[in-house]
Every structure is written in structure tokens, then in C-alpha cells.
Symmetry: C2
Subunit: 333 residues, 2 copies
């Protein structure tokens, strides 16, 4: 496990975000590109709605970029649905090479890491990274059907209804650039509570982030923001505490996309947002904007994933986690 | 979609195959590295058994190679289980960066493509590609619980109980080498019959293979074997027919791993083997041996995947397919 420097500093050239009702009503709700307040995206099942979100997101970023589909060397895409059907069906209409990924909620970072590696090495001229989650398809697959109306525990997170698409390439000019990546390893510390995913993923986040600082020699204060994907309140606390034990104080500049997306007081999503879409849409809208405006110039972006399935938990297994990290910077012109 | 040439010709340095009872009793049954005739691999559920197969396969290839885990730049792994738990749990104990993939039965080729691209570009010193399927976990997830004892249709294929692990690197010497790759696009021609997966995947195979010949200028007779992963009897017939329509006669040198793994007369697995493990174990044992013995010197290896889920079929959607292709050669010393 070691940091891979990207000498050519591939640019996140374009991004596009698609969200549902609750996300559009949150603190950064105005920043998203496409909103469907019905959460249905004109489809008759939640799973089809999620695929449609991926289609809209990729179509949106392609249109915005002005590229033709033949300009896209490959699409790296994934989601939370069984057999990753959100991605396969959503992107089936586009004639570009397709690499299906499964990194649970880390998929946004996983897809950006692979895209940037392929572009940096000139294996592909540019690549697209796409991910999604939908609250209604995820809840019924992982927990309970919505109609059941179950009470949620205080540590439960709310799966974000959101899809994000990015195009990574070598465009010149003033763009957020991926200058290093650190893919994570699978870490299983024995957490079994599916209603406390933050706690399950935090050890993997600690593992990757500690490794990053140890190996790079950089310090937390070298960054304007250290951003995690969806650790939520529970996982974020664990991350900050454990990092302090490891000698790194990230308490002043750690942010979690799961805590940015909803308003805790007004919307009450319990421990925050989660899902592949969570880190994807917050990066695509909020943080890429902040980078372009130079509100932040140098960030670490790490999305974490909980790699269990409903079956594996029923069979008594604990939740393996993973954290994939990217360093994203605005470099001098 | 275009062919990517790998100038450094990364080697498939080592491989290891793990199988169950039926695979060990087939025509190439003696070639596999590890057999458990109970299919249980000392576990108490089929899903845990599948994870254990991945663990044994990766541990096997690592031991055989003599590398330490820290020598492995990353593991690219996937399987058919919901949330790809076969891979996540099976490989959680190894401290190496992990990229989870979902390519359905194309996963073996997808993981080898990504491994070889990373090695060729020197982003990683070497990478591991791991995949698995287990008949009993797949049947109850995708079709019926085994206890139901349902009658299988004549076009049905038999999910292979098998796991394969490969190490791709830049070792010098006489090894099978990956000299070009062509990642596939998602193709959906409207097939809805889950008991005829070969037919669902064949259009994607036709798409990738035609593209390969069109773009490379090579002809089918330039290869000693054109190997597909698990099209089975039905899909293979469709592939050969459609390729002929496209101007390429592959009838004399097309082989399908799903037709190699079982004896049609003696074992009667209907339309042949399938699953991520099918192409994985046949490549790892049978074809790598044939390459090293120079029985074949130049092959195309294309694994195809059917990217549906049980839910997507219940919701009336058809089966999207994908075909990922690699050119593997024994180069002069």
C-alpha cells in the first residue's frame, strides 16, 4: 500500500450532479445540476429511477463537456444495487468501454482513482467516473421496505438519492487536479451493526489516512480540507479520535460529505447522509466549486465503503470497510 | 472503444485455481491446484465457502510466487454475489490495496485488463487478478434454492464452483504475456431469458470481437485459439454465426471455457459451465499450461458478462451483456 503520484496531474475537467428532493432542500441544495423532487425520475420502480439518475448524470457531463462519446476512453462506474444494475442499465446506451466497480460507498473515489491512473499513464485520453445511490432502492435492499415504516436508530444514516459523473482528462487551464492517489485495503474490525455504518468504515479511513501522512511526510495542516465520504457523526468522531491517537490532529479541517448534505436541525437525517451518491454529489457540486473559487486549494478526498451484504450479516459476519483517497489541488497557472 | 497495446507485454507470472467436485471430475479436472470434493471448503454456508475459495486462490498464487504481500501493488477482484462479498471477505485478511469489480462473468478478463494496464504503465510493480463463483451460492441467489430441486431448461448453464488468482507483473523469462486489451461496452439486445445467458451475452461478444478484428487488421487465423468465457452451446453458436455474418470465420479455432470444463456426455451440464470462475479456472490451468508448452502461442481471451439482477428481470428489463478481451502471447525468448 503506497501513494501513487500522478506526474501529469490529471484534471477533473467536468462534473454533473443529479439529486432527489431531500438533497435539493439541504444546505447545498442549490448547487446541484438536476433535481427531481418526486425522486422517481419518471420511472416506475426505484431501481429504474437509480439507473435513470446515472444516465442523466453521464449524459449531463458529456453534454457539458462538448465531447463526443467516442472521446471518452472508458467509463468506471458503480452503485450499491445487487449486481450493480444502477450502472449497467443506466450506462448501457452509451458506446464507451465500461468497467463495472463495486466499492460500496467508496465507489466515487475508486472510480476517480482508476480514471486518473489511466489518464496519467496515457492509457486513455480521458475517462469518466460515475456513481449513484437511491434512498428508496437502498433501504429496501439493505434494511426494510419503505412501506414498513420502521423506526431508525440514532446512529443510522440516510442513503443519499444522488448520482454524480466526472470527466477526468488532460485539459490545460485552471481545473482541480488529481496529484496523488492512495487506494485502500480492506479492513475488518468486527463491527456488526448495519445501523452504524460510520463505525464500521472508520477503521478503514484511519488506516488509509494514517498511511497517507506517514508515507508522504505531509501534515493535516498542509490541507485546506480533509474530506471523508459518509462517515456521518459517529464515524467522523471515531476517525478524529483515532487519528489523534496516531499523532495527526484533523479536528480543525475534517469535513464529512454525509454531514454537509443535510441540515441536522431542520432535516434530521440522524447520523448524516451515506451511499455512493453522497460523496459523489458533494464533490461534484460543493467542493469542485470551492476549488475553482480558490476557497480551498489543496484537499484530501477519501470515500469509504462498507463491503457487507444483507446475507453476510445474517450469517454472522462483521462489516469489512475500505477507504480510497485522492489528493486534489488547484495548481498555479 | 479501441484496442490498447501494451508495449511492455506484462507477464501472467503465476496463477492458481481452486475448484469443487464436478469441476475436478471434468475433462481438465487433473489440472487444477486445489480441490474440495465437498464444495464446502470447511465452511458452514455457501457464501462463506466462496469467500474461502478466493482466500485459498490468492494465498495459493502468493505462496507459489514467493512474493510478499507488500510486493503486490493492488488486487483487482470480483464475483457474482450481492455486494461482491465473495471477494471482500475472502481477501480482507491481505494487506494490499483492493479494487472491487463487478463485471458479472466477465470479471476474470476485466481484472486482468486493469492489472495489465497498471503494470504496463508502471503505476504498480505487479497486480493480482482474482475472481470466483460457486454453484450453490449462485443458484440460490439468481434462480432457485438447491433444495427446491427445480428442473433446468436445456439452454441453462451450470455455474462453475471455482476461483482463480493471477499475478501480473514484469518478470523476465518465458511467460504468457498480455500484449493488447480491448475493454468492452455494455450491449443490450433485448434477451430476457435468465436460463439462456449465452444468448444474452453473445451480442456483446460479437461486438467486441468484431471491433478487435476491424481495428487490428488481424484475422481469426492469426490466432491458435479464440477463447470465450462462458457462452456455452447456445451462445457459442450465436457468436460463430454472427461473426461469419460480419466477415470473420472463427468456426475452426473458437473454444469456450464453458464447454471445456465439463464433459457433455458423461456429466450433462446442459448448455455448459458459466460464472466468473469458469473462464478464470480454465485460463489459470488449461490455457496457461498450453501456452507454456507452446501448444498454443497466440490467443484471444474474451470473458463475457450478463449484467442483470434478479430484481431487474422481475421488473421486466432485458439482460445487458459485456465482453472484455485480451490478447495473450508466448513471445520469442
Amino acid at each position: 500500500m503506497s501513494i501513487i503520484e500522478l506526474k501529469s496531474a490529471p484534471a477533473i475537467e467536468y462534473a454533473y450532479s443529479v439529486v432527489g428532493k431531500r438533497e435539493s432542500e439541504g444546505p447545498i441544495g442549490k448547487k446541484f445540476d438536476f433535481v427531481d423532487k418526486s425522486d422517481k425520475f419518471k420511472m416506475d420502480t426505484w431501481e429504474k429511477a437509480e439507473s435513470e439518475m446515472q444516465r442523466i448524470a453521464f449524459d449531463g457531463v458529456l453534454t457539458r463537456s462538448g465531447y463526443n462519446i467516442s472521446d471518452i476512453g472508458a467509463i468506471f462506474a458503480g452503485d450499491l444495487l445487487n449486481q450493480c444494475t444502477g450502472s449497467a442499465y443506466g450506462l448501457a446506451g452509451f458506446d464507451a468501454p465500461y468497467f463495472g466497480l463495486y466499492g460500496a460507498c467508496s465507489t466515487c473515489a475508486e472510480s476517480l482513482i482508476l480514471s486518473s491512473l489511466m489518464v496519467d499513464s496515457d492509457k486513455l485520453p480521458r475517462a469518466a467516473a460515475v456513481c449513484s445511490s437511491h434512498n428508496c432502492s437502498a433501504e429496501r435492499q439493505f434494511r426494510f421496505p419503505l412501506e414498513y415504516g420502521g423506526q431508525r436508530t440514532p446512529t443510522a444514516q440516510w442513503t443519499v438519492t444522488g448520482a454524480a459523473a466526472f470527466i477526468v482528462g488532460k485539459k490545460s487551464g485552471f481545473h482541480p487536479r488529481i496529484t496523488a492517489v492512495l487506494p485502500g485495503t480492506v479492513v475488518d474490525k468486527g463491527i456488526t451493526d448495519i445501523s452504524n455504518m460510520g463505525a464500521a468504515m472508520a477503521p478503514a479511513a484511519v488506516n488509509t489516512l494514517t498511511q497517507y501522512f506517514n508515507e508522504s511526510g505531509e501534515e493535516p495542516e498542509d490541507f485546506d480540507a480533509i474530506i471523508t465520504g459518509d462517515l456521518g457523526y459517529e464515524g467522523s468522531k471515531i476517525l478524529v479520535d483515532f487519528m489523534k491517537n496516531n499523532g495527526y490532529d484533523i479536528s480543525r479541517n475534517h469535513y464529512d460529505c454525509g454531514l454537509i448534505i443535510y441540515d441536522r436541525e431542520r432535516q434530521d437525517m440522524h447520523a448524516g447522509g451515506s451511499g455512493c451518491g453522497c460523496s459523489g454529489i458533494v464533490l461534484a457540486s460543493h467542493y469542485l466549486e470551492k476549488l475553482k473559487n480558490l476557497d480551498v486549494k489543496r484537499i484530501l478526498f477519501m470515500a469509504t465503503g462498507a463491503m457487507m451484504s444483507p446475507s453476510s450479516l445474517l450469517q454472522g459476519l462483521s462489516i469489512p470497510g475500505i477507504g480510497h483517497l485522492l489528493k486534489i489541488e488547484m495548481l498555479s497557472k
